[in-house]
Symmetry: C2
Amino acid sequence: MNQIEVFCPGSVANVSCGFDVLGFCLEPVGDVMKVTKTETPGVSIGTILGQDLPTDPLKNVASVAVTALLEAHPSKYGFRIDIDKRIKPGSGIGSSAASAAGAVFAVNELLGKPYSRNELIQFAMAGEALASGAAHADNLAPVLLGGFTLVRSNKSLDVIKLPSPPELVATIIHPKIELKTIHSRAILKNTIPLEKAVQQWGNLGAFVSALYTNDYELLSRSMKDKVIEPYRAMLIPRFEEVKKAAIDAGALGSGISGSGPSIYALSKSIKIANQVGDAMKNQFDDLDLEYEVHISKINNEGIKILH
Amino acid sequence: MNQIEVFCPGSVANVSCGFDVLGFCLEPVGDVMKVTKTETPGVSIGTILGQDLPTDPLKNVASVAVTALLEAHPSKYGFRIDIDKRIKPGSGIGSSAASAAGAVFAVNELLGKPYSRNELIQFAMAGEALASGAAHADNLAPVLLGGFTLVRSNKSLDVIKLPSPPELVATIIHPKIELKTIHSRAILKNTIPLEKAVQQWGNLGAFVSALYTNDYELLSRSMKDKVIEPYRAMLIPRFEEVKKAAIDAGALGSGISGSGPSIYALSKSIKIANQVGDAMKNQFDDLDLEYEVHISKINNEGIKILH
């Protein structure tokens, strides 16, 4: 095999009570990446469609991630990466993770699969580190493993795939302002009240339980975030109104996707998810603000091979 | 039915990563309580064997809890409570929870079961408030529901029963110093580093997942507490040595039981749990300190009716 084309899905990280640990994978939103084996060693970026991103292999998250992989598993071949970049960087649905994960996944296939999907996360993290200044796995894990994932530890890279209740559908609204992860990080406090931390881990424990038992009511009750959301909400226009509109329209819960500005909601059917999308849009209609809405089932597979 | 005798088990709360939310129920350790319906309304304490506890109904956790139940569900009868108190107060294995939960459970039976086990928690919390100065459900939930339990919220009292992996066995060592919950609370900081909070909820999410999947390795990796244990450890003689000895002897993990001074460990068989108990004891052998060791399967049923 000398060439492979893969679909690299978007993802939602920092799912309400699961700041830095809980994420899920999207279905219809994602990049398409083509990786071609070359006779000359090294990694190069070919064409990038859709977005203005660096083609210098030292500055592109995809090539940086592949370089980390090739350091651990040297090859006499080289790899050229062509990207149809459909997820806008800074949107909050894992743009850099899609590129980094997609690239290492594709190269791993071309190398004859020396690594499992879980093992590939460590290499993709090099790309995430370039993009956001910190190596974190909370978007990479859902992109590579699919479904809901929990990063138990970023340090020892202990990642668990959680079950996805079959009826869940996500609504994402992306108001088109750009928010860099690095800035959304800076606004957070270094310490948090113990009382709020206890509420947060009580909610996360309940959320994980609800995923195993398909308990949508419990899922809904546990989609709370009193620790991070109050700070980041102020970076997102009309966050509180959009969230309230989503819940009033029937969503189980709603919160900031990743570090924003996208806002996600989870609902129990496609019909409700569509109504939720309409209700969220309405909050922006009198503003001179572009936005995009995605309706997505939970993608339980993650990255897919197209050709 | 005019009289009932119940077994009120001990419990382990604050299970490592689950401070204030995660607990489990013990099997062989517990009080025996006899409640008798009387013609005169009101609640009274009859005899208390084993411990020196108040018989004034306003000062005993059992009668205070029953009074809360009777306020919600008035009865023309009264109730006399006789207690064979085998769990020492201040031991860290839910002595007050056993009394409060046992009393409301028994009276509820004599009243014809107007409340479910889950609903009884709210009344038993009045007893816990008397004992520790704060109404909390993290020992009451496992005593009433059995197995592992998660208190998602103390405020709205949202309690979930989690599954118990069948092979788990607890070892508890109780060094006989008395530690009041109120003092172990006072030593804690009001704020904690965000980074440690994230680790804690990553571990709790993983612990809950491991309970559903019987993943003992994951359970072991997630039994960590960098938030509470470092402070409370200094109130317990040789805590670090006992914990290390337990893990070296094969325990999946070990930590402070409740607010101490008891130390618990979880292991994958009775054989290992016994070896763990011996290893823990050895750490106290050159000290002039009395201790007790309990080996217990997870009690999946909770409070039991004896007669």
